[in-house]
């Protein structure tokens, strides 16, 4: 069973550009070897950290989104742990809460429909801006 994952990691700032490429390639290669598909790879580049990690004030951020088998993620995590040049890493499954979010979007569509109806019917009777504003606020809290 393959599902969508996101892998993010921070590389130490002392590392040269060639070595950064090597680290990224080694991770992407393991994904492609296991018949995984890399959807997106965004490099933020050097960025100031919110707090020092191992006395480093900066870090090289890389995020990879891919569709892989779950067993590969375990091996990736093991490999990232062994790398001394990687300060921190994080792995997430992305399609965890999609079911519930789908429910939410349905509910929002319903509320929009009702709001349109009420706005139309009230707009014909009387056009007072204050009244409509109050109506919108009360709707927002109901969600």
């Amino acid at each position: 069973m393959s599902s969508r994952y996101e892998i993010g990691f921070i590389i130490t700032p002392e590392v040269s550009e060639e070595e950064v490429k090597k680290i990224i390639e080694s991770i992407t290669a393991t994904i492609t070897k296991a018949k995984g598909v890399i959807e997106n790879l965004d490099e933020w580049g050097r960025k100031k950290l919110a707090f020092p990690i191992q006395k480093n004030l900066e870090g090289y951020y890389v995020f990879v989104q891919a569709e892989v088998d779950g067993a590969i993620i375990a091996t990736l995590e093991r490999r990232l742990k062994q790398m001394e040049k990687v300060l921190r890493f994080i792995t997430l499954r992305l399609d965890d809460k999609l079911k519930k979010s789908h429910k939410l979007t349905k509910r929002w569509a319903k509320i929009d429909k009702i709001r349109k109806k009420t706005a139309d019917s009230r707009g014909e009777e009387k056009e007072s801006d204050d009244f409509l504003d109050n109506e919108e606020e009360s709707d927002a809290t109901e969600k």
Binding site: G8, A50, F63, I90, K97, S101, E137
Partner: protein, 91 residues
């Protein structure tokens, strides 16, 4: 003895003004999944010292508050958001 009443000496009861109603910022923008990577947005929901605001203060709904707290904790792990910061003393 006379029963105690709000009106007391015939004056009308004090009027309390209710605060403006809060609403969930994520429901307003119709965001279903909160991403931990856009830390600039998340910083609106933490205090000066780095604590997460409770839902009754920020007004976020239960579903989004649960996601938000997780997103902030993930952002902290990746050093995008500070864990704590000492309060600056005004002398």
């Amino acid at each position: 003895m006379q029963p105690r009443s709000n009106t007391g000496d015939g004056k009308p009861p004090k009027k309390y003004y209710s605060a403006r109603k809060k609403f969930c910022a994520f429901c307003k923008d119709k965001i279903t999944l909160i991403d931990y990577k856009n830390h600039k947005n998340l910083e609106n929901f933490i205090s000066e010292t780095g604590r997460i605001f409770p839902a009754r203060v920020s007004g976020t709904c239960a579903y989004h508050q649960k996601q938000l707290s997780k997103a902030i904790k993930r952002a902290r792990q990746m050093a995008l958001i500070r864990f704590t910061e000492e309060k600056k003393r005004i002398t």
